[in-house]
Subunit: 355 residues, 2 copies
DNA sequence: GCTTGGCACTCCTATCCCCAGAGTGCTAAA
DNA sequence: TTTAGCACTCTGGGGATAGGAGTGCCAAGC
C-alpha cells in the first residue's frame, strides 16, 4: 500500500486545505490547489483510492473528503514540513523563559506561552518531586501546637513545604539543632539516597541515637515519604478551544474540560510522552481517551541537566495547524529545559561525610 | 412601593418555581403552587403590578413571567429563607477543612468543596502577602551564579520563595550569617514594621553598617518589595457551568471562561466583598462586569485571627438555588477561617530587641 | 370593589416541505 | 489514462403552517 507521488500530493493538499478551511474538500477545490494540472474527474478517481486505504472519508455522499485519523498520521509522519518559528516569536519566547525566575514561575510561563502563541490550550506536566535531584536544605519551624512546618529545598531551586503533626511540641532550639544536623549530614546527596540513608540510619543506630538526630530523621522521613503521586498539571488557555468549530458541541466541550479538571488521563498521557525523545503527537483516538477523541496533542519532554523530567504540549482539535504547533512546542521545550538547567546549583558535591 | 403580602407570596413562589424549572412561570402554575386559592385571572392582575414595579418581566407576550434582577434582589434580601446545610455535609466539610494541612492546601480544598457541593463554580481569593502578619523566618540560599533563593516564612505558616539576582556571588557562610542576623533581629515583628525598619536601618546606619547586615537587609528588601499585586484566584468546577441551560450559548460561556482566566475583574469583585462582613451577593449586572451579567456570585470573606484576609464564593447562573448556596458559602468561610486561625503560631511576641 | 370565567389575540416553536447548491460516481469518448 | 458529461444524492436554509401556552381585557358574580 505504497502511495503514488500523485496521491501523496493530493492527500497533502487536501489536508492542508481542510486544516485551513475546516470544510470537506471537493475535487474541484483540490484541482485548483494541488498544482497538478488534473481535472476534477481524475482527482475523484484518486480519492476513491485514498478512501479505500482509509486515509480520507466523506461525511456523506455529496460532500467533499475529510482526512481520517490515519490520514493525519501519514501526513504528520511523512508529508508535513514544519515551518520554523518566526524570529520575533523566538525572541519573545527566550525573553519570557529567561533563567532568572523560580522554576514554578518558569513552568507557568511556559504553559501560558504555549496557549498564547498557538491560540490553543497549553499544558505542562510538572513532575512530582524528583528523586534524582540533590538535597539542598531543610528547615523545621513550629506552628501552633504540635504542628510543624517542614521546608525542603532541592538544588534545582524547588521549595517544598508541608505541615506535619509531631508527637509532641518541640522548642525552637531543638528544631534548629535538628535542621542543622540534617543539613550538615545530607546536603548534596541525591534525594533517593537521602531516603535510603534515613531508613538505614534509623535501624542501625536507633539504640544510641541522640535525641536530636532521631527528631531530624523522623521529621525528614515524614516530609519525604508523603510525596506520593502529586504530579501536577497546568493547563492554560482552555477557553481558546471554545472557538474551535468542531468542538462547539457543548457535550464534547464539557467532556474535554472535565478531562482538564480530572487531570488523571492527561497526566497519564503526558507521562507516556515523557519517555520519548523529541516530539510526540497523539492524533484523535490514538490517545485512548474518549474526551480527547476529537483532539490532537503535540507534546515534547523537557529536561533538567539532560534528564527528562516533565512534558509540555498543546491540545487542540485534530484539525490543527501542525506545521505551526510543532515548532512552538519544540522550541518551548528546549528553552524551558535550558532555563531550568541553568537554575540548578552546581556546588561542591559532598559525599556523605559522617561516620 | 410597598408590596402587599399577597404580592410577596406570589413573587416568592414565582421565583422559586423559576429557579426550580428554569422556564417562565404562567398564572396557572402560580395559582397551583402559591397556596392562595386564587384564580389565574386574579394572579394575572397581580403580575401586572409586579411587572410595573420592575420585579418580573415576560420574555414575550405569550410566555409566563420571569424574575428581573430587581426581583431577585428583593427575593434574596427579604423573602428568602435559607435552609441549613444537612448534618452530613457539614461533617464532610469539617473533615476536609481540618487544620492539619498547610494553608495553600486548605484554600485549594475550600475551592473544590464549594464547587463540589454547589455543583457550580467555586472561587477563592487568596490574599497577597499580608502585611499584618508576623515575620517568622528567612533563608538565603545560593543557586547557580548570582541567583539567590530567598525563602520567607510568616507566622500563618505561609512560605514564600523567590529568586533574586544579587550583585555578586556570596558564599554559603555569608548567606547563613546574614539569615541568622535577620532572623534574630526581626522574628515576631509585623511584616509592615519589618519593611519600615529595613528602610530606616539602611538610612540611619549605612555608614558603619557591617557587611553582613547590609547584605541581609538588601536581600530582604528585594524579596519583600516585589510583593505587588500578586493576589491569586483559584477557580474550580468551571465545567459545572456548562450544564447550565442559560449559559449554553457558546459566546456567553466563552466570555465567562475568559473572565476566569483573566481574573482581573473577579479579583476586583472579590476584593470588594472582602470589606463586607457576612454574605455578599452580586446578582446579574450588579457586579458591573459584562461577562458576569447572567451570573450571580455569592461570597463571604474568610478571616485569620479576626482579620478578614480573603474571600470565597460560588459563581452560578442568576437562577441558582440561593437558599442552598448561601449556607454552603457561609459555612465554608467559617470553617476555613477556623482552620487558618488554628494554623497561626502564637509564640512569644518579641519586640525588637536590638539596639 | 375585588374576583373570576370567558374569549380573542399574540407569539413562540416544532415540523414539514421544497429547492438550490455542492459534489459525487459512472460512463463514454478522446 | 484522462476527461467531459450527466444523473443522482445529500445537506442546509427558507418559508409556510399548526399547535400550544399564556396573556389582556371585559363583563358578570360575590
Amino acid at each position: 500500500m505504497q502511495l503514488s507521488p500523485r496521491a501523496e500530493v493530493l492527500l497533502k493538499t487536501l489536508i492542508e486545505r481542510y486544516i485551513a478551511e475546516g470544510e470537506p474538500v471537493g475535487s474541484r477545490t483540490l484541482a485548483r490547489y494541488a498544482g497538478l494540472d488534473l481535472s476534477p474527474a481524475t482527482i475523484r478517481n484518486v480519492m476513491v483510492d485514498l478512501e479505500e486505504m482509509g486515509l480520507v472519508s466523506s461525511p456523506h455522499t455529496s460532500a467533499g473528503r475529510v482526512p481520517t485519523q490515519r490520514g493525519y498520521r501519514l501526513f504528520v509522519d511523512t508529508l508535513l514540513k514544519v515551518r520554523p518559528l518566526d524570529e520575533q516569536q523566538v525572541r519573545f519566547l527566550k525573553e519570557e523563559l529567561s533563567a532568572d525566575q523560580d522554576p514554578q514561575q518558569l513552568i507557568e510561563n511556559a504553559s501560558h506561552l504555549l496557549s498564547e502563541i498557538s491560540k490553543l490550550a497549553g499544558v505542562v506536566l510538572v513532575p512530582h518531586r524528583d528523586e534524582q535531584v540533590r538535597f539542598r536544605h531543610i528547615d523545621f519551624l513550629s506552628l501552633s501546637g504540635r504542628r510543624l512546618l517542614v521546608i525542603l529545598v532541592t538544588e534545582d531551586g524547588r521549595v517544598d513545604n508541608r505541615v506535619i503533626v509531631a508527637d509532641r511540641e518541640y522548642s525552637a532550639a531543638e528544631l534548629e539543632q535538628a535542621a542543622n544536623y540534617f543539613n550538615e549530614s545530607y546536603t548534596g546527596m541525591l534525594l533517593s539516597d537521602v531516603k535510603r540513608a534515613l531508613v538505614s540510619d534509623m535501624q542501625q543506630t536507633s539504640a544510641d541515637l541522640q535525641r536530636v538526630i532521631e527528631l531530624a530523621t523522623t521529621m525528614a522521613r515524614r516530609a519525604l515519604e508523603t510525596d506520593g503521586n502529586d504530579d501536577e498539571l497546568l493547563v492554560s488557555g482552555e477557553s481558546n478551544l471554545m472557538d474551535v468549530p468542531e468542538l462547539n458541541d457543548i457535550r464534547k466541550l464539557r467532556r474535554l474540560f472535565e478531562a482538564f479538571t480530572a487531570k488523571r488521563d492527561l497526566l497519564h498521557l503526558l507521562d507516556q510522552a515523557m519517555r520519548v525523545k523529541g516530539i510526540k503527537i497523539f492524533i484523535g483516538a490514538e490517545s485512548g481517551y474518549e474526551a480527547l477523541e476529537d483532539c490532537s496533542i503535540v507534546t515534547a519532554a523537557y529536561s533538567v541537566d539532560q534528564r527528562q523530567v516533565g512534558t509540555l504540549g498543546v491540545i487542540g482539535p485534530t484539525r490543527m495547524a501542525y506545521e505551526h504547533v510543532i515548532p512552538i512546542v519544540d522550541i518551548t521545550a528546549r528553552l524551558l529545559s535550558a532555563a531550568l538547567t541553568a537554575q540548578v546549583a552546581q556546588p561542591p558535591r559532598l559525599e556523605r561525610s559522617r561516620s
